[in-house]
């Protein structure tokens, strides 16, 4: 290969390209990805920065490397931004997409939903449901995950624990949460209270451990 004129101490072009290919292969293999992700849509940098601050603020322990009895499990911290579904005024659908492989055994250590809420008056009740498979929320096909009395008025980010969600919550490819804000018939609906614009996109922060079914750790 032609020598690289710009950097005499750099390894020759061929070696450089070989090492870069090795690096790509090594990263994809260790992250268990078939190919590099092609982003479906860009995430606003402000939203990324805010979510990372929440991830750190959550007393996040460093996702462990391979140590002791955790040898068989890999720790991940995941931030997932919701696509909002405003079909019905009385409730707000939040759709999350996950990319875990079906056969992975996932243990949720912590999961929190972050919403930017504008609460016009005190003592509104926010209910959170997990929709059934396929996002169906009609009738009884949903599970109440929790409800919270919003005692303070005003706007701001609030977090809601999702630990009551079933362990399979992150296992599926796509998950829909449904939020209902109790309104005393004055027509104010949840979509007026939850700011789901791009700059205030609701997001979920989770810490999980994943065990690979065929994961054999070479014991030395």
């Amino acid at each position: 290969a032609a020598a690289e004129p710009r950097c005499p101490s750099c390894p020759a072009g061929a070696e450089r390209r070989l090492l870069e290919e090795v690096a790509k292969k090594q990263l994809l293999e260790k992250l268990r990805l078939r190919d590099r992700p092609r982003l479906a849509h860009a995430v606003p940098r402000a939203a990324v920065a805010r979510a990372l601050r929440r991830l750190q603020a959550g007393g996040v322990h460093r996702s462990p490397g391979v140590t002791g009895e955790e040898e068989e499990e890999q720790g991940y911290e995941i931030i997932s931004f919701a696509e909002t579904d405003l079909t019905s005024p009385s409730s707000l659908g939040l759709q999350f997409q996950f990319s875990q492989a079906q056969d992975q055994d996932i243990r949720i250590l912590q999961a929190q939903l972050w919403l930017y809420l504008r609460v016009p008056r005190a003592n509104l009740t926010l209910r959170m449901f997990l929709a059934g498979e396929g996002g169906a929320v009609a009738g009884g096909n949903r599970t109440l995950l929790g409800e919270r009395r919003l005692s303070t008025t005003g706007s701001g980010w609030r977090s809601f624990s999702l630990l009551s969600a079933p362990q399979s919550f992150l296992g599926g490819q796509s998950r829909t949460l449904q939020l209902e804000l109790e309104s005393r018939g004055d027509g104010r609906d949840v979509t007026a209270q939850v700011n789901a614009s791009r700059s205030h996109q609701p997001f979920l922060v989770a810490k999980v451990k994943v065990k690979e079914p065929e994961h054999h750790v070479a014991k030395r």
Binding site: P11, A40, S63, I79, S99
Partner: protein
């Protein structure tokens, strides 16, 4: 453990930094900007079998075996990683979720002769 230099062909650690911008992966890998893809290379003549990077007692044990059994160059010792560390990485997955994890044993820190 030795770092490779021009005038030695003994077992050593060769450093190489891959910048994710150079491979066009900085759009989905948020942090770090790149990583050290170091590797081990070089000769492992018998008198250094089991040397740097391993416990010196291991080297002594191997050396005594070589002397006691008058081992010729039938077998040979290899230049291998003897200490590695994890790489912490933050990246977007295909659904634009942000994932943070530590990849164990990703960066070669030291090389030695088996």
């Amino acid at each position: 453990s030795l770092r490779c230099s021009q005038n030695s062909n003994l077992c050593c650690r060769k450093d190489y930094y891959v910048d994710f911008r150079d491979i066009g992966w900085n759009d989905w890998i948020i942090k770090p900007e790149g990583y050290q893809i170091n590797y081990c290379m070089g000769q492992c003549p018998l008198h250094v079998a089991g040397s740097p990077g391993m416990a010196s007692s291991f080297h002594t044990a191997v050396f005594n075996l070589v002397k006691a059994n008058n081992v010729q160059a039938s077998g040979h010792s290899c230049c291998v990683p003897t200490r590695r560390r994890p790489l912490s990485i933050l990246y977007f997955d295909r659904n634009s979720n942000i994932v943070k994890t530590d990849i164990p044993d990703m960066i070669v820190d030291a090389c030695g002769c088996s």
